[in-house]
Symmetry: C2
Subunit: 355 residues, 2 copies
């Protein structure tokens, strides 16, 4: 894509809203910082990128995003260390992924320099919103929506790319019990499950509500054709510890290629843990639970980094997982989190300082 | 759902935009009438329904529709007869279906009296926009979007229901050649393909673009597990005439239960045509094309009623369909269209006069 470089325009908020926010009682994704990044696509190209005060957007009721779901997003975080320096974690992965998602939805790629100049400017302007210590971070939500007016079912010719930011503590609280999907599905073979596309989420709400009513917080999705293979959770990839081996399934066109998943695999290997990436059958999990070799299960994702699972249901049976003295989930999480907060070395080159 | 009846509020447009529209050169879904219907859901119930001048809507950038695709819609039409009376075609089907779609996406049902009072009021206010004769109609787009602010991946607690209307001529022009899907898919088993949900459309744009580049206007989707069974097109159900039998596949959780499909089946039977509703294999279609028993293929949908298909590609082979003297597609279309425009009797009770 040819793209003329236009330098970023910045309009500062007259007054910060930060004093209205209680940082000890944050609800995930409910408060947003003082500024946002916005860039419109029309006439075949991305227009002047801007950082402006956080504000509502106005669209025609016929805007394609409302009717045809042409919308993709990312989720990433910024962390502050003890010296008030700000860091991102593998941000190129998110940048690459949003463009991959866009491609699958027939949406235009966003230029890399716009993305990083916009993000960096935003983080510097709103740096007071990034709190240090224990699980605090700034959740960053880049997203693209189709804005052309008109209800013809065809790709939009106009889009808006935005980045909004929300201060967060940790995503999941309490025990997470999961249910293995045996009827509903998240994604089709040859579908767009591998894209971080809006349409992949709404379809999960109803089955998840049913699972919630049965006492499970999350669903572990399986392949839609046979429901025999374990795939991923609603907003997390999934890992199993059988004896001392860590298992996760390969990604496919049905599964999101998670940045945390990749990082867990690499970090576990770095820590000397045996990792196997291969298809995992529900029946294998049940067998391992029955013979006691299943030690742990956990989800991986940007929001929670690692979210331990305390038990799973398959059809009408429920297995409670054994408590571990020093869970692998905890060790790997600690190693990744320390790296994110600049408390340890970074042998991988994952940490990116914002300056 | 308990719902207090609130009577409709109406605010008329100061001035009509109708003079700015060239009704002989309409682009599908690009022009909208002077008014729209809007009703918001919050605090667990639908608020005061209103008909107001057509206008943009304002949302927070974190509104859930932008991130998680919680959005459903309908497509229906209003027709004018020679006496300037206005008619709808099976509108209860669309009303029932939007609530079925909403349920699958964990969205609240919309009250029936609000729907029909809103729609009728809108049609009467904007009746000048409905032109009589030859393919002219008013395309009606009811839709619901998730409007709560916040990027937590969970069902929205706030929604907006709207109806917007667009004057149209006919949807498809020219020859339609289709490609049978052998890699990409539209819907998963246990997914939400049967819902008229925004997320089902964006995922089709990229594969359709690839098909367009190969010279095909549409894709015929197949089951995602095997690609062996014919399912439906992007915005149409699909029919095959083999010898003198009309075939279409059964609906499922992957296939939209089209109002036109039902009507084609009933009308064809009424006309004495032999109709079979059963799974249809790609291999059966290829065999019928090879031995000359495949006479016609067509899509059915509100936009075009019936859209004849001139040929299909499967893998690397293309079959041109024979030209028929008096195509079944044309006969059935004529019968349905005459009924819609109040030119013939309506033995089915499908036509509903607006007054
Ligand atoms: C469906 C799905 N799977 C997995 C993940 C985890 O991906 P990441 O580790 O990149 O956050 C996410 C996003 O958070 C997701 O939405
Ligand atoms: C996916 C899909 N299939 C089929 C149809 C046809 O349905 P109907 O005849 O109710 O318009 C539509 C809608 O137009 C559709 O979007």
């Amino acid at each position: 894509m040819e793209q003329l470089h236009t330098s970023l325009a910045v309009e500062k908020a007259a007054q910060s809203k930060i004093d209205q926010v209680d940082f000890s009682k944050l609800v995930f994704g409910k408060n947003f910082t003082d500024h946002m990044f916005i860039c419109e696509y029309k006439d075949g190209k991305w227009q002047q990128p801007r950082v402006v005060p956080y504000q509502p957007i106005t669209l025609d009721p016929s805007a394609k995003v409302f009717h045809y779901g042409q919308a993709v997003f990312e989720g990433m975080k910024a962390y502050k260390d003890a010296n008030d320096d700000i860091f991102l974690f593998r941000p190129e992965e998110n940048f690459n992924r949003i463009n991959k998602s866009s491609e699958r939805l027939a949406m235009p790629a966003f230029p890399k320099d716009y993305f990083f100049e916009g993000l960096t400017t935003l983080l510097k302007l709103d740096k007071e919103w990034i709190k240090k210590g224990n699980g605090n971070s700034l959740y960053i939500r880049p997203f693209v929506i189709a804005t052309e007016s008109g209800v013809m079912a065809s790709p939009s010719m106009e889009y808006t790319f935005m980045i909004i930011c929300s201060p967060v503590q940790s995503y999941y609280g309490g025990e997470v019990k999961v249910k293995i999907a045996d009827y509903y599905s998240r994604a089709a073979n040859g579908g767009f499950g591998a894209a971080k596309a809006a349409g992949n989420y709404a379809g999960q709400f109803y089955p998840t509500k049913l699972a919630n009513e049965e006492g499970y917080q999350q669903i572990i999705w399986t392949d839609d054709a046979t429901h025999e293979y374990l795939e991923e959770a609603g907003t997390m990839n999934i890992f199993f510890r059988i004896n001392d081996t860590l298992l996760t399934c390969p990604t496919s066109d049905r599964i999101l290629d998670g940045v945390t998943r990749k990082s867990v695999i690499a970090m576990a290997q770095h820590m000397g843990i045996d990792v196997e990436v291969r298809p995992i059958k529900v029946s294998e999990l049940v067998e391992a639970a029955n013979n006691g070799s299943l030690k742990e299960m956990f989800g991986s994702g940007t929001a929670a980094v690692i979210s331990p699972i305390s038990g799973f249901a398959n059809k009408d049976q429920f297995w409670e997982l054994p408590k571990q003295e020093s869970p692998m989930a905890q060790q790997i999480k600690q190693a990744i989190v320390s790296l994110q907060y600049n408390e340890t070395e970074d042998p991988f080159g994952w940490r990116v300082k914002v300056d």
